[in-house]
Amino acid sequence: MNSRVSRSPRPLLGSAVICALAAAAFLPATVQAQSGSIPRLADGHPDINGIWQALGNAHWDIEPHTARAALAMQPGPVVPVPRHEIVAFGAVGSVPSGNGIVVGGEIPYLPAALTMRNENRENWLDRDPEIKCYLPGVPRANYMPYPFQVFQSESKVFFVYEYAGAVRDIYLVDPGPAQVDTWMGQSVGRWDGDVFVVEAAGFNGSAWLDRSGNHFSASLKVTERYTMTGPDHMLYEATLEDPNTFSRPWTISLPLYRHVAENARLGQFKCVEFVEELMYGHLRKNPVGR
């Protein structure tokens, strides 16, 4: 019943391998050439249906970075130490290193925007929208450490994100400029050959790009390119233009991986209720001891 699942790789027993090899030997050359090629819908477009997730550490910091003790630090007697709010996390609160996903390595900030990024970083606990379970924005939603599911038919493309239950209806007919500014923006998609191109704008400028204070304004325009590079892999590229924040357009590039487990399904991470103590705990009649 589930065509996505039927493509899932499974451990092959010896006899199954032999059968597969034997069968392959009798397949027409054209079919063999297509093995490993990308799935397609009946309309011929690549079939990007499925549950996808980025691997790696871009969600901590999209620029290349070394591991560090924590995102929020304070001066220590010898070297900076993690802020008291997160000391209890120990190594769980530490930041793993990452190669970054910014093409060229560095975000071309305008001077004032770079200053703001650094201030954001200093004030991460207060400012990162993820901490309050706010909607993630684009492109951050695509490389958070949660999967998202693409629903694609001949007439509709819709993304559902596990994190905060965020959604994007990718309009295949352009409704014109966004009528309201939103966290997730308005997305318009089209096929450029085998590449699904999405132009997203109409942002409210409140979302971030990662946990390291990288940011943008409401003028952001994102051009995304989703390219299947195999049955279970997509190359995700996004070009960000925002003359209020960046000196030139710049691009991120990373692979997305399909969840291939037979029972893969998007979980529910409705984190609004998880952050009530953080956001409203001080307003309880009897605040919980801290």
Binding site: N2, L41, S153, N263, K285
Partner: protein, 377 residues
Amino acid sequence: MVTCARTPLADRRVFEVQRFGPLMLFAAASMLAVTPSAMEAQQTNERWVMPRTADGHPDLQGSWSNATMTPLVRPPGVGAVLTPDQVAALEGGQQDFIREQLADSDPDRGLPPVGGEFTGNFLFDAGGGAVGGYNFFYIDGGDDIAVFNGEARSSLIVDPPDGRRPPLSEEGRRRTGERFASQRQFGAYDNPENRPLEERCIMSFGSNGGPPMLPNYFYNNNYTIVQTADYVMIMTEMVHDTRIIRLGTPDPLPAHIRPWLGDSWGRWQGDTLVVETTNIHPEQNLAGYPPAAFKPSENIKVTERFTRADEHTINYEFTVDDPSMLSGPFSGELPFKALDGLVYEYACHEGNYALTNVLMGARAQEREGVSNQPDTR
């Protein structure tokens, strides 16, 4: 026939309670002036051909609204099917009210009375309309009666035949009693968890997200459906909740995993999509508002049927069966009408100043020694 029968129509405020309160709107139906029928039986475009997806199933995709004036539960003294005159009076009354509310404010009007100017429209007043809160720029609760298979319905519930949710079972009463006892340990404003799900931006009010997916009689009753060979995805505008309905033989979640909108599995039965849902979150509001609302048990099962009826309509049928809570199952029917417009982002939590202010206000009242508990007179 109804309690308002002795109420002088000249008493505008009481009259409007009868005329506009969505949960009791039918009470006044038969006493309103008889006007020429404004509603004709639903006409189906004879040339309409069922749209189908590439795999041959009916195409349910697009954006839809289930906003309607028809309440879930049938008011007493009203038949299951309304007459054209009743429909005209009810719809006309609501539309007049909306028109009145949309008019420019009179800049020379005097001060409103202390506590606000109550119209009697329950949800309008509850939404702050009486004190200048939500007006009909925001409110879009539906201004027409639900027509299903050509019948103007007085309630969404059609079975039991009295249009009412069956009473709680003995076990259901026990469980509900325990829940209330647990809640009574706290004041209404003591903690965020003591506030309703919709105020906390966790769920829509009126159980828009479902299942069953019911109108909230207030606003944002919109849905987007996307359909693939393996899934039907239904996004509810309010709080952007999605139901990811898997098609095929159910492989249900373990009993202890209970997502807010449950675990849904679908199958095509001819041209009807049949969806069965279990494992609904124990705190989810089933069946909207009182008197029908209840909290689902671990044995809840909701069955829904989606059938394209015409170019503009999906016929939506549901059956709720919770043997641990209810003395019997109940079923309902309502149309989902094609939405001519975009569904916008419903970022509730991100702008939830209300919950902060509600709690902060309660703490301030406590400091001043003022009672802040709801008036239960």
